[in-house]
Every structure is written in structure tokens, then in C-alpha cells.
Point group: C2
Chain length 609, copies 2
């Protein structure tokens, strides 16, 4: 099934449906040839230096004939000219770029085992499989670096090479490719792009670029299915998620991940420790470096672009959490702490970190060095345990860089507003300006069911001060597994935080979006307001709740104040009555004021003179 007609990335088999419905409403019912010029928005591409380098954008066409170009994370699903099919996966956009470099090779790869999907060794469903069996859409072998070749974007950047991936993100961010290369080379930005994930549209994470948003998906032992996870992924990227972390912990982890990867236009992150723990039946003390390493390779071969590694949770730091109000709240952190205490040994992740670097470098998997000791409550923010781990992450960051492994650093968590800045300042200092990737932080603990908001506040602030990527929090945080609506609410809330930060950082072009919407608002171009909104569907729905009639879409007021009290209308009336064009209005106003002043009423402030 294709999305040619309905313009919705639908496959009846995987139950992905309707995610683009509302957004496309403005152009629905029109013939293809009319589409490009219709009001609303459509997918467009900005061409690069080669024919296969086309950067997707969201082009919003306004009723006044102007158009606004916005960053687009929705992938090929919103391109009506492309056939997408979740059983086949997305086209491997980067394949030629990877092949052309000639520094990687295909190899048979690690066989897929039943236990990779959480199936017991004794299960009748047992037996070895290959990747094709997991995802029949595109037969492939995994790819790795040829001996001695450094295949990470960091290595290329350090050598002075501007890869197609770098050019792609430069066009996306509207900066020079050299800026992208420099930031990556300096370790201030990462471009997560596993050689086994050619489907992604490259993106960059760094403080000089647009603030990014990650959405977590993942089934747990309690609920959820493969289909739901793939749908959640496309749903999240549809609303603006820049990366997606698959945090599945239940059955079918391997297969779920494969389907997610083959259909994802954005980088996918994971926490390999979760799957490793499944392989030892949830007994932390039975984890071994070998099992962990094997899991990392398994996931790297699938194409995971970045991995959270809790190598900073070291044995001596565990006692530092004893006085905490909420102990260790990171799943990975608590697993590693339990392992360290059970064996009374230093963390196997810390001890084998260099070998891990070698593995990640082989595939260009990016590190997301996990903050396993992040605070889980306002009371525990910025404590000894948290900052001790951060100093270790700084040490590990330097080791990773020796292996040309791209690295970002994860941050908290739960932090009251006055303690947020210390987090980013210290992280930037200790970690040589490596990108900070924070969860929230939540600025208070008293509002379960609203933690997208308690954390959106902290997220906006820490992003303004330099955090490069924000991990979203949904309304279900602390209470349950997010559903479709929760994912959307989480993504939209975090897009707000990210964009508010882009504005505050003075990111070039960020304010154009606000300005376009403000102009539409002042001029009562309701359809333009909706189409420019982060969530056009809900904006339109809210407006129509009180003023549903079609004429209201062009009315010079809304139901908030009614026609008589609309300040925007009165403002316009003032302009209309006291002048014609903008220049005339101004001249007229200034003239009137001068007359007033000349009449003896010297009431002007100095700034008006």
C-alpha cells in the first residue's frame, strides 16, 4: 500500500495510520498539480552540490502569497511523490555516500539468536536467524570499517573532509559546511550516523545549531507491541522529534529495533544495557562484559546511531547515593550500581571503555555517556554523586575522542531553576564543550501528570544556556507508558522549549517563524496562523470550538474578546483612520504628536524625540 493518494504514510499491515491527516487537511481534496501552490504546507527540497543531496523542508504557503521554510523531520512519509511501505523500509539515502568513501566493508555479521528477542534458549521457536529473517524488506549484510580505517564523522572532520552528511546538515541548518565540519572536529557537535543506518536524513547536535529534541519510545514488559513502536516513531518524527530512542525492554527487542531502524528517517538511540539484562533474565549480578559487548555489536550491526553507556557509574560513587531522597533513578545507573555492589568490583563498562570505543568506532556509533547518577528529585539535585559521575564522563569523553568516537554527555533530571545553570556550565567545562543532552530537567516534583510542563520549563532554560539536545518528557512520566497523544504532547512541548531557546540564543532565522505567525495574527489571517503553528490541527480545532463557521476564518476578531473588544482590530482601525500605508501612518502619527508638542504640552519622553 502506498501513500500516493491519501498522503498518509499508511501500511495496513503495521497499522500506521492517519498521522499526517490533520496537517495535510489544507491541501486535501486538491489535485496534485494544484498542490504546490495551494495554501497550507507541502514538502519541498533544497538541493545541494550533488543530485542525491536534497534536504527536506516544510514549505508553508501563506494567503498573502509569501511562504515560510521550516525545518522538517517528518521523513519521506510526508512526500506524496514517494511510495513508502513499512515492510520495505525507507530508501537508503546515504548508501552511495558510504560506499563512495570505500572505507567500509560488508561482512556476515553476528547471527541473530532467539535470546536477542527475549526468547528462552529452550523455546521451540528457537534457532539461529539472520537479519533478513527479522526484517524481510531489504536483504543486507552489516557493514563495518575496513581494517585500520577511521570511519566516523569525527575522523573525517578532523582530516578536513566535508562529507555529504555534513553538507546535508549545513543546508538544513542554513550555515556554511565548514562551520559544521569545525564543530564536529572540535567535539562540540555530533552527527550520529551509523554506517548501517543509511536511511537517515543527517542531522547535527551541537550548541551552535538548532536545539534538538529526542523522543523515547519502547515497549516494556507490561504493555505495547512492535507495531505500536514503529507507529510511535513515525508519529514522533512527524511532530518534530529529531532523534528517537528505542528503550524497549520486553519481548521482541531485536525485531522491534530492526523495524524501527529500517523505517526511521532520524537517528535511533538505544541503551544496550537493557537488552543485555534481558539476556541474563533480569539478574544484574549475572551481567558480564562479554554479554554486554555482544549486545553492543548486535545493535551496531543493526544500525543504532547512538548508545547510552553508563560507564560513569563507578563503584566508589554508589555510597554517595546512600543519603539521597530518591537513590538512583536511572535504570542503567541502578543496574550498574547493583552489579558493582554485588561483585564489589569496578564497573565493567568503565574497565573496558577503550575496547568499547574500538567497537563504536567500527560503525560510527555515537556515545551518549549516560548520567546514571542523575538526581531523581529536587532534593538530590547537583549533589556529590551527580557531579562525581560528571567528572568521570569528562575523562571518558577524552578517551572516546582518542578513538575518533563522537560523544555527547547526558544530563539531569530533576533540578530546581536556580541550580540549572551550574549543570550546563560544569558540563561544558569538564567535558570540553561536548554536546549536552538533558532530560528536562523537571523544576518541581509536585505535578505528576504534568511533567512535560515541569520539565519543559527547565528544558527551555538549559537549552538557552547551551544544551544541544533535549530528551522529551511526556505527561505520563512517573505514572505509566505514553500513548500516541502523550507522545505528541511531549514532542510539541519540547519543540516549544527548543524553539524558545533558539530565539533566546539568537539563532539566525529562528525569529522569522515567530514573525510570520505574528504578522498573520495581526492581519487576521487565521488559516496562515493555523498552518504556521507547531500543531495546526489543535490550533484550528480550538478556534472552531467557539466560532466554527467558515466566515469566522476571515473575521477580524475571535471569540476571546468578540468584535467590539478586539485590540488588534482597534489597532488596525487606528492605523487605517490615521493614515494609509505604513509609512503614512507613521508620518501621520509623528506629525500629530509634533503638533501636540508644539501646542505647549511637552510630554514626550526623551526617547521619542
Amino acid at each position: 500500500m502506498t501513500n500516493k493518494d491519501a498522503r498518509t504514510p499508511v501500511s495496513s499491515q503495521t497499522n500506521i495510520s492517519n498521522q499526517a491527516n490533520g496537517v495535510f487537511a489544507a491541501s486535501q481534496g486538491k489535485k496534485p498539480e494544484e498542490e504546490q501552490k495551494s495554501i497550507g504546507w507541502h514538502k519541498a527540497y533544497v538541493g545541494g552540490s550533488r543530485p542525491d543531496l536534497r534536504v527536506p523542508v516544510r514549505q508553508v504557503h501563506l494567503t498573502n502569497g509569501q511562504s515560510v521554510t521550516l525545518y522538517d523531520t517528518s521523513g519521506p512519509y510526508t512526500d506524496p511523490s514517494l511510495d513508502t511501505d513499512v515492510r520495505r523500509g525507507l530508501p537508503p539515502l546515504r548508501e552511495n555516500w558510504i560506499l563512495a568513501r570505500g572505507d567500509t566493508e560488508e561482512y556476515p555479521g553476528r547471527p541473530v539468536r532467539p535470546e536477542d528477542d527475549g526468547i528462552k534458549h529452550t523455546s521451540p521457536r528457537g534457532g539461529l536467524r539472520n537479519l533478513d529473517a527479522v526484517f524481510p524488506g531489504r536483504p543486507r549484510q552489516p557493514r563495518r570499517s575496513r581494517d585500520g580505517k577511521a570511519v566516523t564523522q569525527l575522523a573525517y572532520a578532523r582530516r578536513g573532509e566535508i562529507t555529504p552528511e555534513m553538507e546535508f546538515v549545513a543546508l538544513r541548518e542554513n550555515v556554511l559546511p565548514e562551520v559544521v565540519r569545525e564543530e564536529i572536529a572540535a567535539g562540540r557537535a555530533v552527527l550520529p550516523a551509523n554506517v548501517n543506518h543509511p536511511e537517515i536524513e543527517p542531522m547535527i547536535i551541537g550548541k551552535r545549531f538548532l536545539v534538538k529534541v529526542n523522543a523515547n519510545i519502547g515497549n516494556s514488559a507490561v504493555t505495547s507491541s512492535i507495531e505500536e513502536e514503529v507507529e510511535k516513531m513515525t508519529w514522533a518524527t512527524h511532530w518534530g522529534a529529531d532523534t528517537v530512542m528505542d528503550l524497549s525492554t520486553g519481548r521482541n527487542i531485536h525485531t522491534t529495533r530492526e523495524w524501527v531502524l529500517r523505517n526511521s528517517p532520524v537517528p535511533i538511540g538505544t541503551v544496550p544495557l537493557y537488552q543485555a539484562l534481558e539476556k541474563v533474565d533480569g539478574k544484574a549480578e549475572e551481567l558480564t562484559w562479554e554479554i554486554y559487548k555482544d549486545t553492543v555489536i548486535e545493535q551496531a550491526e543493526q544500525g543504532v546511531d547512538y548508545m547510552t553507556v553508563h560507564a560513569g557509574v563507578r563503584l566508589p560513587y554508589v555510597p554517595l547515593t546512600a543519603n539521597r531522597k530518591t537513590g538512583i533513578v536511572s535504570r542503567g545507573g541502578s543496574i550498574m550500581a547493583a552489579w558493582c555492589l554485588a561483585h564489589h568490583k569496578e564497573s565493567f563498562l568503565y574497565e573496558n571503555f577503550e575496547e568499547l570505543c574500538e567497537i563504536l568506532a567500527t560503525y560510527d556509533v555515537t556515545y551518549s555517556l549516560g548520567d546514571g547518577l542523575r538526581p531523581g528529585s529536587i532534593a538530590d539535585a547537583n549533589d556529590e554523586a551527580q557531579f562525581a559521575e560528571l567528572r568521570t564522563l569528562g575523562e571518558l569523553n577524552r578517551i572516546a575522542k582518542r578513538f575518533h568516537v563522537q560523544t555527547m554527555i547526558e544530563g539531569p533530571g530533576h533540578v530546581p531553576m536556580h541550580k540549572i545553570k551550574e549543570n550546563i556550565d560544569l558540563q561544558q567545562e569538564i567535558c570540553d564543550e561536548a554536546p549536552f543532552y538533558t532530560l528536562g530537567p523537571l523544576t518541581t516534583d509536585v505535578a505528576p501528570a504534568y511533567d512535560h510542563i515541569t520539565s519543559g520549563i527547565g528544558a527551555a532554560m538549559i537549552a538557552w544556556w547551551g544544551t544541544a539536545m533535549l530528551c522529551y518528557v511526556t505527561p505520563k512520566e512517573h505514572l505509566g507508558l505514553p500513548h500516541r497523544d502523550d507522545v505528541k504532547t511531549g514532542v510539541i512541548t519540547y519543540k516549544i522549549a527548543a524553539h524558545a531557546a533558539d530565539l533566546a540564543k539568537g539563532h539566525p532565522g529562528a525569529q522569522e517563524w515567530d514573525d510570520a505567525l505574528s504578522d498573520a495574527r495581526f492581519e487576521f489571517r487565521w488559516e496562515d496562523q493555523f498552518n504556521l503553528a507547531l500543531d495546526p490541527d489543535t490550533a484550528r480545532e480550538f478556534h472552531d470550538e467557539t466560532l466554527p463557521a467558515e466566515p469566522a476564518k476571515t473575521a477580524h476578531f475571535c471569540s476571546m474578546c468578540g468584535p467590539k473588544f478586539c485590540s488588534m482590530k482597534i489597532s488596525q482601525d487606528i492605523r487605517r483612520e490615521h493614515g494609509g500605508s505604513q509609512a503614512e501612518i507613521e508620518a501621520g502619527m509623528v506629525q500629530k504628536s509634533k503638533e501636540f508638542a508644539a501646542s505647549g504640552n511637552r510630554v514626550y519622553l526623551p526617547i521619542a524625540d
Copy 2:
């Protein structure tokens, strides 16, 4: 109809229903005598220096036998021992205090005219009425200061008097009464309490106190009714609104306001200009000082506690808005600008400000000096027009203080994060630290339908930096009139912002709430988490969506991670396995670590030594 049985402030006549339902769920179905000790929360009172001085609190009883005391704005409606009836109004709590001072007198008052309710002079329904006819519940005459008496809380504070109102808020805020008196006397705080609104439970607005939240209600010409507005008011205070502004602009303004006032446990604010404009059929240029003054007296006699007055919108500032992207977005501001330009005269509010001060002082109405030229878009933030008006507000603030009129200053609006601090810093400097009362600010314009969030971010920040009260924004902002759910979402979002600011300011006792909830979370006391939450209903509902069974309420995990991956559970297991009591755990952990260090692995960070 009373609320004795259902514990919901219901009147079938006014259709107020169910607002307390969910919150009381925990104690529903229990007999009254069990109630006081039951899990959940109940209304309690903290006694003062006299029997009629009892400060309401929300007492949350936890399953571990402890209890937490929270600030309570819900009024007598949540007291099951009181009969409330919206046709009768709330008991006049402050009446004896006002009478005892002996500085006010009853008088016949201004007759109520049909046009006060927006009814044309020629209407067959016309004819003069008195206040009794408008609200039959409690026959009364309005009250005003006796000749020459200064009856404002500011005047009392300056004279060194600690009024019962001041003692009430001192108990509420857990500070010494002298601190309250000092802050009011210095003009750094206001205690809005019209002598004609004896029903309120006094509250204070100032940066040394808890950050307050205002909720706007009000019918517009397009929709809404008296019943809905009264219900919205009690609904808003139920969820934590500290004051309510009645911004009605349609029919029945006078009567709606009377019903709201007689049933409101919190101070009520208004914008008299809106009603004045109704009286001249919406024609701004026909407004006169006389009509405005008459409206102010009308509302003051009813008991309005604070009034927004746009006296800072002066003729010479109007041209400063000509280059703006969104002109003048304040309704009051645009009305006054239109008047100034139409007559080419200085604002009648500015010109007659001293006489207005005399009127407000007569009833102890507090000024909320409106920011009629606040920015309506990111592009217009912190511009000349805005700050020119702010300087005038500083001037007016000093005049008001000469008349002993309590005064707060309104602030924006739409401001990107990096320009927020300048607003509060400048306001505090220019306005002699008078309380700042801001709308948001919205930190981006691109998310209509989510402006409670775009503005909640800015609100939390500006409150941290010193704003004393936040005017809420609902999801319907810019799109339509808020309904019941929107009001709740707006209030909860702003309670989050206010509390996050209280935490960041280090307000004494603020963190106890977070700590209690964090403890409950770490100890898997689910019911306690719900009952301590800002919105217990939604927290419980979200949890039950995925794990509805009763045992899940005591389960040591939730559906987010499932039993195997619950970090809190692992954390607890660690503590249990490696020690007994908290002290033993710590000792054990430290001992283990010391052994580790002694073994030659000197891995400790300096801070751990």
C-alpha cells in the same frame, strides 16, 4: 441546596457541579467521623490570635502516618461542615474586622441602572434597581471610608497597625505578621481587600511571599453566561487560583460581577474600562472621564478588590507603536489609544489620576496599573513604547502611594527568554519595588493551542526573578474562550510555574512539598503521590490507564519500566541487601568502599574522601 452530603459546592440553580469530585475521591464513602484521619486530604484551619481568625489549609494525610500542610485557595466550598449556597453567598468573614475599625460607613450607594448590565435605556426591562435586586442573597448597602479616614491596608501598615487581614496572611504564608506589615508599608506587597468584599480570605501579593496566580474569567459578547462565570471562578480557586479577574464584556456585566463577588473566597479584579465602553456602545471616542469614574464607583461599591487601570497609555506613546509588528494588543490599551488619537488629547485616565486615587482609597481598591502597550509578539518585546509606558507607571505608582492606595504593576506579554530579566529588573527599579504582576510572558509565538506552555516557561522564570503574581494563560489563548478544562489546565500550569519559582527563590517550606512527594515516589506509596499531586485526579487516572488493578497501587514498580527495570526498586534492593537501617546502609556502603580503596584501587574523587 447545601454541600453537606456530596461535599461539592453545588447549586442546582447556578449549575455549579462536581468541581470537588475527584479530589475528594480518597475520602468518599467514609463516614464523617472517620474522615479526619482518613488517607487523602481534608480542610483544616490554623488558629490565630482571635476566635474568628482561622486560616484554611489543605491537610494531606499520608499512608505512613505523616501529614503535609499545603496552602489552600478553595474557600469554604471544601469544608464539609459548612453549608454553602451560591444564592446566599459566602459568609462575610471580614465583616467584624471592618466594623471594629470604625473608619467606614454604610451609605445608600449609587443606584444600579439597566445600562450597568448592558441593557439599553429604552429597554422595556429598564428601571432603577438596588444591589439587593441584583443579588438577593444578602441585603446590604455599600460601605466607604468616613470623611478623612484612610482605610487602606497600606495606610494601616504605615501607621504600624497589624490588621486581622495581615495576621491572616502571616499565618497563611508562615511568616511573622510584622514582615507582612513591613512589606505592605514599603509598597513591596499588596493585600487586595475592598471594604465591600468581606467574603474573602485575605491573601498577599509580594516578592517576599509565595508567588500567586490569577485566573481570568469573563463572558464575551460571543458566548458564556452568569452561571458559567460563577462556576469558572469556584473551579479556578478550587485548583489554586489566588485571585480571579472578571473580564466580562457582554451582557449582564453588573449582575455577573455581583454573583461572582458574593461567592468568591479570593480577591476579584476587573478592568472598569471594559464596562465603561459598553455604556457608550463600544465607541471608544465617546468615552468620558465621568462615565469611567461612575463605573469605577459602581464596581468599588460592589466590592472589586483590584482594578486594572491603563493610565500609562499616553498620547505621545501611541506613535511609538506604529512600527510594531502587532501594534497594541491590550484591549484597554487599544481603547485608550483610540480615544487619545480621536480627540488628540492626553488620556483622561492620566489627567484625572489623582481623583481616581481618591476614589480607590475610599474603598481600599488596589491599583493594578495596566501595561496597555505590552508587546504582543516576540518581535515587539522590550521596545520603546513598552518601556516608555513603564516609566509612566513608575510615576503613577508614586502618586498612588501619596493617597495610600495599594498598587501593583502589570507586565508583559510576549518576551523571548533572554529579554525577560530586563523586564523585572527595570520594573523593580522604576516602580520602587511595587509588586510586578505579569501575563506569562510567552517565550515564542509559534505554538497557538499551547500558549499555557509557551508562557508557563516565561512565567516560571520571571517569578523566580521577582514577579509577585502571574496571570495565567490557557490553551485557548489567541484562539477562543476557555472552557472548564482550559481553565483547569491554565491554573495547574501556572501553579507549577509559581511553585517552581518558590523553590528557586528558596521560599521557606516550599521544598517540603516536593520532598514529601519524592519520598512517596521512592517508597512506592502511590496513593500518597496522587494525594500530594497538584492534580490528584489526573495523576491517578494516568497511572490506572496502564495498571488499573488495585494491587498496582502498592506495587513496587509501574508500567513505565515494568518490575524488572524499575530503578527505584533496584535502588531499594541495593539498600536492603547491603544494610538494614539508613545508617547501617550508609556505614556498610562506606565500609565497602573503604575496603576497595584499601585494596590499592585509589579511585575516590577528592570529594568522597
